[in-house]
Symmetry: C2
Subunit: 446 residues, 2 copies
Amino acid sequence: MAKISALSGFPEWLPAQRRVEQHVIDVFRHVAELHGFAGIETRAVEPMSQLLRKGEIDKEVYVLRRLHAEEGEDTDPDRTLGLHFDLTVPLARYVLEHQNDLSFPFRRYQIQKVWRGERPQDGRFREFYQADLDIIGQDSLPGHVEAEVAVVMAEILARLPLPGFTIHVNNRRLSEGFFRSIGIQDHEAVLRALDKLPKIGREAVHALLVQDAGVSDQQADACLGFAAISSADGSFAQAVRDLGGSGELMEQGIAELTAVLERVQAAVPGAIVADLSIARGLDYYTGTVFETFVEGHASLGSVCSGGRYDRLAADNRHTYPGVGLSIGLSRLVSRLISADLARATRPVPSAVLVSVTSEETRGSSEAVARALRARGVPTEVAPSAAKLGKQIRVADRRGIPFVWFPAEEGGEHAVRDLRSGEQVPADPASWTPPEEDLTARVVPTA
Amino acid sequence: MAKISALSGFPEWLPAQRRVEQHVIDVFRHVAELHGFAGIETRAVEPMSQLLRKGEIDKEVYVLRRLHAEEGEDTDPDRTLGLHFDLTVPLARYVLEHQNDLSFPFRRYQIQKVWRGERPQDGRFREFYQADLDIIGQDSLPGHVEAEVAVVMAEILARLPLPGFTIHVNNRRLSEGFFRSIGIQDHEAVLRALDKLPKIGREAVHALLVQDAGVSDQQADACLGFAAISSADGSFAQAVRDLGGSGELMEQGIAELTAVLERVQAAVPGAIVADLSIARGLDYYTGTVFETFVEGHASLGSVCSGGRYDRLAADNRHTYPGVGLSIGLSRLVSRLISADLARATRPVPSAVLVSVTSEETRGSSEAVARALRARGVPTEVAPSAAKLGKQIRVADRRGIPFVWFPAEEGGEHAVRDLRSGEQVPADPASWTPPEEDLTARVVPTA
């Protein structure tokens, strides 16, 4: 038999841990659907020619080969397939492929595994869940949807067992407008440098700004001053102007950022701050950009990021702008588990184990189980007619809170709460456990 | 830009179709949890040495290669990874790897995509969902669990929008006991031949039996007579004895099969028949075997199959017997959609579109949406403050049944049912849609 072992970078959960992951997925789905987002899934593979658009051959893609591949299947980049490394490339393709069958603005969420051939020694996952949510317009998309995805993000995170979180929001027009108005040409180089602030600190970024972005010492100071601005209300605007920023583009950015702040504060008070250090590495954002941090877990980095982009995809008829967010779900779940922030109340869904007096009367125990399940109570029947003490230990070991003792001739049914030891008469046609015991729930660890 | 096109063998659904798939997944999960099964997921990849155990190099496996693979990563079968082609090989590995952390009997369900490099011209999927449910014992597993998985199977299928279904059940001991008692040595060759009955018919199977299994004409007739036996109650037993079968092994098989029939009939009347033609191709079944057919869709083949096996996995300490079933979920969903057996009531979850009078009052519309969502009503706000007729058409196109008109100063809120045209005053703090309109449901097509 081949070696049995864990594979570095491919996380796998025990049942109680999987319950935590499933809970996060369920919350994401529930909130997304409350906001009218439809779920889709895309195939796990895309042609390599799609995955490596713009010739980004540095991408850590897993390439597929059929064990019994035909001649040429392996070398033609339109026929060679790779596993998707995010859900954005597939969404762009899905929207173009199905544009005639979708209604726009297209509101979709998507929760799927993605794969990246990262070096495992970096402690990164090679297989992980990503949970994305986007609103895609055809040719145009109103600005107010930028606040909308932030609200959904806040509502999802507020329902998760996290110690607290804050969405940090900035606006690309505001940044670009500010940098231009103080005489900087290469604003993208400035953004790339500022993006490194949390990792390398102010001094190193200052050096980068001068060397790579070609700005003066004074401009670099202004950029760092800009990135230090943060406020939960609209006061960031005056701070930017005080730093010497001005101009139409910057004022447009200020107006957009103020609107996002106000809308999100109205929906989920305290969830968001304007933070002008937020840059987002990717070039393709054009307006609002978000990052989200969990209180006391700065080392996690941003758990939920996104923003506005003007061109998800395009063909010779249409351009598709959008706004979206993405949660690195496996990373978040992994932290919930490793830092013991949340736990399943038990590893199995069962609320009740029905005991079995003898194999001859197993049918009566099964009838009790059927009656309980008919009212939505997860129930299993003892695997063997062992001594009652042993059956109770089976329930205990599985974390099942109640053991049912079927009526013996003329007698009454009874149910015992294993935690309190209390045993009461009960009718299988009407008894239900307390709501909080109905199934395995995921709760913050006290 | 690279070519945008569907990939043969990689099904992908539009939002309303995905809703059907999600519904089937939800039903499977709900029923499995009612019966105390815990959900797990395994990584999508296994070492090639695991996937090709017993040297089955004919398996249509997708092999993975990192675009930036290191020397040797590609050639060592313990380091080379492939995508799993079923959920049984990963389960065997998971049980061995985590045996110290699981409690046995281990009741797990698992719903994941699997990949097979099948020839697409056969109309087979290369990527599809499989939904599995197994009970795994450590060293031993009582026989009554064989009926238990059939009950779960029946309850899942009964809740799906199918025209009707029947579980066909047989028992390997019964078959083997019968074949031996009429003097046949190679009972596995007989089972392989009988497995082909639905495809090639009685005459061709008769020829196969004589040529490949080396049985006499008379024995072949008896085998075909045996395979023709079918009954919804225990009467199959006498029919087998009448054909000349006898012996301890056969009688054990009869007793087991009778017990499964009775237990399943007690739980889900009419769901199961004994059908002695059921052979199941795989060698590893050792007791009860199941196949399931949908009324009027014989061409689908078995939509849900499984059975008892004595050795899922083993190491030098333990052997793991089990019983399980597997639904070819994508195939089933594909048929539900292509034969128009079921439909989503609408493609989006939203029950309500809140109209927007002007961009200045969008905040009021958002407040209405928040109030509705707080009571679990999926709601979206109109994307633009267009003329009301246009906003209503947006709702109509998306299949949203209700449009909300926020109160204008001093006035009342109103909600219109777009299907009846009826418009009534409504309070955002208390109005709820009828239960059946709350979200997109999946219903049988009338």
